[in-house]
């Protein structure tokens, strides 16, 4: 187990290193342009020279690369061009919001997806299964941000059940320190998390249904029925426990999906997270912020996959025992 974990960690670190190198190349390419033919906005020569000096672009590229790596290792993600502050600070502010959003969405995704998938598998090819299957396919095919817009229009603007965006009511709750303010925060969180979670849940349901139907055909399910167990127990205990194993793999795949969705959903709901930060930065060509966000997102995906692998080992007794 330990040796496997070390190997797995080494591979993850190598991937992150490759992503870092890629971001370096991109930043380099991007900073090559502001002095040159950046059409539209002409850049004053002194600004250009200042930029070049500031980013050490006059040094040999090898040195720049080493310095870049060194800075990253110290947690220095560079200086934002538009915000005039360290990128690390801006990200540190945005990340908790993104985490809250994606983790809430993850819970909705898996809880709802699991329930729907099990229900559909239990009613295989009957009306409930087919209707829900088509509905899930449709939701799963929507652009996430568009679903956000529709929910925003229906629930926030027309029915006024939810706020139209933002993190919290800044007038009533300048700081989040009381129970009503926490409730206000949850109220603001509901629509974006629901948007992200619903699209994910539709995919999870499809996956879970297939996994469960696969398990239901196996011999040990027949054994469980032969024991005289109620169908509910056969399905929810014997079959589901086995069908949850592939779900752990799905967990690893869900991370990139949620982060991708967060970029757009945060924009739609003015949710001050990493995705919105990156989008705003992009529109201002604020490269240090954009690449840092991409880097963080990749690290999260790599960690998510690592976590999924470890979870798989814990969840499956066949692996668990062999590994110890």
């Amino acid at each position: 187990m330990a040796a496997w974990l070390v190997r797995r960690l080494a591979a993850s670190i190598a991937i992150v290193w490759a992503v870092v190198t890629l971001t370096f190349v991109i930043v380099h390419l991007a900073h090559g342009s502001p002095c040159g033919q950046s059409d539209g906005r002409p850049v004053a020569p002194e600004t250009c020279a200042a930029l070049i000096r500031r980013f050490g672009l006059d040094r040999p590229i090898g040195i720049q690369y080493v310095k870049y790596l060194g800075a990253l290792l110290r947690g220095d993600l560079g200086e934002s061009l538009a915000l005039h502050r360290p990128v690390a600070d801006a990200l540190a502010e945005a990340l908790p919001n993104t985490f809250t959003l994606t983790l809430t969405a993850l819970v909705i995704d898996f809880a709802l997806g699991l329930a729907l998938g099990v229900y559909q598998a239990a009613r295989e090819r009957r009306f409930g299964d087919i209707a829900l299957g088509n509905a899930a396919l449709f939701v799963n095919s929507m652009p996430t941000f568009w679903l956000g817009l529709v929910l925003l229009l229906l629930l926030a603007q027309w029915l006024r059940l939810f706020p139209v965006g933002g993190l919290r009511d800044l007038v009533l709750c300048p700081r989040m320190d009381s129970l009503p303010c926490l409730a206000d925060f949850a109220w603001h969180l509901t629509l974006p998390a629901l948007t992200l979670g619903l699209v994910g849940a539709a995919g999870t349901a499809r996956y879970q249904r297939a996994a469960l139907l696969e398990v239901v055909r196996q011999d040990f399910v027949r054994t469980a029925r032969a024991k005289g167990l109620p169908e509910r127990r056969v399905l929810l205990v014997h079959a589901l426990r086995n069908a949850l194993l592939p779900l752990v793999t799905l967990f690893g795949l869900t991370f990139p999906f949620l982060l991708t969705g967060a970029v757009l959903v945060e924009t739609v709901f003015a949710w001050p997270g990493m995705g919105r930060l990156a989008v705003t930065a992009i529109l201002q060509r604020d490269y240090p912020v954009v690449t840092a966000a991409a880097l963080i997102a990749s690290v999260m995906v790599v960690l998510g996959n690592l976590l999924a692998d470890v979870l798989y080992g814990v969840a499956d007794p066949r692996i668990r025992v062999r590994a110890t």
């Binding site: 011999d219 024991k227 005289g228 426990r241 086995n242 007794p317 025992v321």
Partner: protein
């Protein structure tokens, strides 16, 4: 004579296959009785419908594609299992009628300990507490001859050998002391030495617990030592049925004769023991049974009548009427048997 515990009459279980090859008549009019405390052997080559017959008894046929045809009748302790409400049926499954399967490797749930899986039926049917059920599971593991039962109870199936797992399956089936045990090829997937141990175990447990056993196998040799009566199946039908000594002394259906010829001799060298082919050809697909007598394409004695007309079960008993029945036209023209086969 006593009343039968399980009475199966004209059982028909068909599968509707999707890819156009039509309906598979896997079990097509099977009747037999199982008496309290006896061992009944159900014998036939692979694909004859033995498993489907046994699954039908507990209504474990996957539906769709399968279904038990109306007109079939399965009576257990005076009640028709085919019309029973799901709830009452569950009260019988695993409690009064239990079953063990051919594949010990895949028939146990990989994510639960064997103890939990044995205890489960006791918890559901006898309302035992978890603690009492665990004690019962250990007791059962000891009963089926697993060493260190107190440790083994917490093991997962993959930590055990095939023979061990089959013992666990047996423990699981017997935890509620059922009246009937259906054992579907319990030894086919196991090594020869383990096979003998498992059969011995079954025999001992039957004597101790006094249940009726339906022992399914493709090997008449397995049946010879343990069964009181034998039902021979071919192509979804019963082709011969007799008390074991009678069947071995006086096999009447050419199929039974062929099966007997392929019983491995225990004194033969082990390589030759593997499988001797007494019957040419193979069991046809269940969607495609031959007309007339279903065995006629493989039968050395077949003549015109066999190709055209399906024989009924004919009584060939020397003792009690109905104790030995055969589905073969040779019974009406016994002189053909002495003649050169195939003429």
């Amino acid at each position: 004579m006593t009343e039968p515990l399980l009475r199966v009459r004209d059982l028909k279980t068909y599968f509707v296959t999707e890819h156009g090859s039509g309906t598979a008549r896997a079990v097509d009019g099977v009747s037999f009785d199982l008496y309290p405390g006896e061992t009944l052997g159900l014998v036939g080559e692979s694909g004859c419908g033995k498993t489907v017959t046994s699954l039908s008894v507990l209504r474990l046929i996957p539906e769709p594609p399968g279904h038990i045809r109306p007109g079939s009748f399965i009576e257990f302790a005076g009640r028709n299992l085919l019309t029973l409400a799901p709830r009452e049926l569950r009260a019988i499954r695993g409690n009064q009628i239990a079953m063990i399967f051919q594949e010990p490797m895949t028939s146990l749930n990989p994510v639960f300990t064997v103890g939990d899986q044995i205890a489960e039926a006791a918890i559901v049917h006898q309302r035992l507490s978890r603690r009492a059920a665990r004690a019962r599971a250990i007791e059962m593991l000891k009963l089926v001859g697993i060493p260190d039962p107190a440790q083994r109870v917490d093991h997962y199936p993959h930590q055990m050998s095939g023979g061990m797992r089959q013992r666990v399956m047996i423990a699981m089936a017997l935890v509620c002391h059922p009246k009937v045990l259906i054992a579907d090829e319990p030894t086919t997937a196991l090594d020869v030495t383990i096979q003998a141990q498992i059969l011995e175990l079954l025999e001992r447990l039957q004597a101790e617990l006094g249940m009726a056993v339906m022992l399914i196998t493709h090997d008449l040799g397995v049946v010879a030592g343990s069964a009181d009566r034998v039902v021979v199946m071919y192509a979804g039908q019963v082709v011969e049925q007799a008390p074991t000594p009678d069947l071995f002394a006086r096999p009447l259906h050419p199929y039974t004769v062929g099966l007997l010829a392929s019983v491995p001799r225990l004194d033969a060298p082990s390589r030759a023991r593997a499988r001797l082919h007494g019957i040419p050809g193979q069991v046809p697909a269940a969607s495609d049974w031959p007309g007339g007598c279903r065995f006629h394409p493989r039968c050395p004695y077949a003549w015109d009548r066999c190709r055209e007309e399906e024989p009924p079960l004919l009584d060939a008993s020397t003792g009690e009427p109905g104790s030995h029945t055969v589905r073969c036209w040779l019974l009406t023209e016994p002189q053909r048997r002495t003649g050169r086969p195939g003429s």
